[in-house]
Symmetry: C2
Subunit: 259 residues, 2 copies
């Protein structure tokens, strides 16, 4: 049986790899500062981004997926013979080059607050001096008057709509609790936001740029109000509650407040 | 100047791609059921996993990164000429095949609760009948008596250690609040956990398997107690507080409670 032989061969190969990983620690398995920002290898690279000092610029545009980062990387010119590009085993993809003569990185960080947290903390650990980080992505729209194709800038800040896990995990204890928590406003850097807005207006035309509040959600599904009959999400009133507290909220997306 | 020409060429290419994306919606840009679980294409594929009906099994082992999924895929035998493998643009990697004659998928879902949420909801939408999902990963250890190399099973449940964003966003309003919230216990499926424990004992020896509580953290950094001088995390007492509430907590990791 060719199938059975193929299966045995694949298993043997996998077991050999498992054994070698379990008993012969590679350089990647030995980290410095596991209680701070872990690094490994020579040069020492941060655990999740896979980058070392100098490989990411002080100015960063952050996006959600790899093909968008690749698309935007076409605007960079390389510092050396080729554009710096590094894909990490943990799902981050970094391009670093020059844009209008300034060093700029474009980083795909995937989805969710933890991924933004990984990015901000590990990038901060390997960059010297002030940083400017702008997130570019797609989002849901909360206002009828905003047309598809506009760019929204969270110049008035971001608030977090967050699933209250305790409410769902122990309903008998938390019958009176709210299923979702809506945070106070977190303000962005005013100078950076103002520059982003004016540059977008210049490039796209004023009618294509709207400003206001972004609602960051901790999930694409329950916390953005989507209905799924397979789950008890108690989210049918969520968007309404968000708009009661923040009537001028324009967008809702699974991302991190601007930093 | 070759550099300048190369830069112009790259920019032109990128602009062409941007234009084509902006004005000619591809099949990927048109989704059905955007208020439920969005799908696009023919056959209709879920937005983030990139899978369609039948491509994922009812039994799933979930891991954190691609190389681990690839390693484990060596234990599967293909259902057709080749093992089913699909990497999505959003960072998910799925293998589906047979293990001991049973259909099994191994899926790399990356890191963080949102990624687990994407996986659970989109997998549920394309699988018929009961599902069994087991998460396999590495973790921090909270007990001296557990040796490195052991496997811990969260048979007693998982609790969430969660950053309280409001505490940090508006310190003047939340001076008396807790910087981290620790949830009630979320229990796993008892039958599945019992099977996982007994199978691990049989395969590795009883001395390699420990059982207890897992603390799920919503960040690898602040919510797992790591100290970073670049951020005000107020987390120096976090591990102690977790252990006061759950003295038998064994592990702490950025993952989702078992489902």
């Amino acid at each position: 049986m060719a199938d059975e032989e193929q299966r045995k061969k694949r298993r043997k190969e996998a077991l050999t790899r498992l054994d070698s990983q379990a008993f012969v620690p590679s350089s990647k398995s030995v980290y410095a500062d596991t209680n701070g920002v872990p690094r490994s290898g020579d040069p020492p690279r941060v655990l999740h981004l896979g980058l070392t000092d100098g490989e990411i610029a002080n100015r960063v545009v952050v996006v959600g997926h790899h093909s968008r980062a690749e698309l935007l990387s076409g605007f960079l010119s390389p510092e050396g013979p080729e554009l710096f590009k590094l894909a990490s085993d943990r799902g981050f993809l970094t391009y670093t080059g020059l844009f209008n003569g300034q060093r700029l990185s474009i980083v795909s960080i995937g989805m969710g607050l933890p991924m933004m947290d990984f990015f901000v903390r590990e990038a901060r650990a390997i960059v010297k001096g002030p940083m400017a980080i702008v997130r570019l992505g797609t989002c849901g729209c909360l206002q009828d008057w905003v047309k598809v194709g506009c760019v929204s800038v969270a110049s008035a800040g971001s608030a977090l709509a967050q699933r209250n896990y305790s409410h769902f995990d122990a309903p008998e204890l938390h019958a009176g609790s709210e299923p979702y928590l809506i945070s106070d406003l977190c303000l962005p850097d005013a100078d950076l936001t103002s520059l982003v807005s004016s540059s977008l207006r210049e490039a796209l035309g004023a009618e294509k740029v709207v400003e206001g509040i972004n609602i960051t959600a901790d999930s694409f599904y329950s916390s953005q109000g989507r209905a799924d009959p397979a789950f008890e999400d108690e989210n049918s009133a969520l968007i309404e509650k968000v708009l009661q507290r923040y009537p001028k909220a324009i967008t809702m997306a699974s991302q991190h407040p601007p930093v």
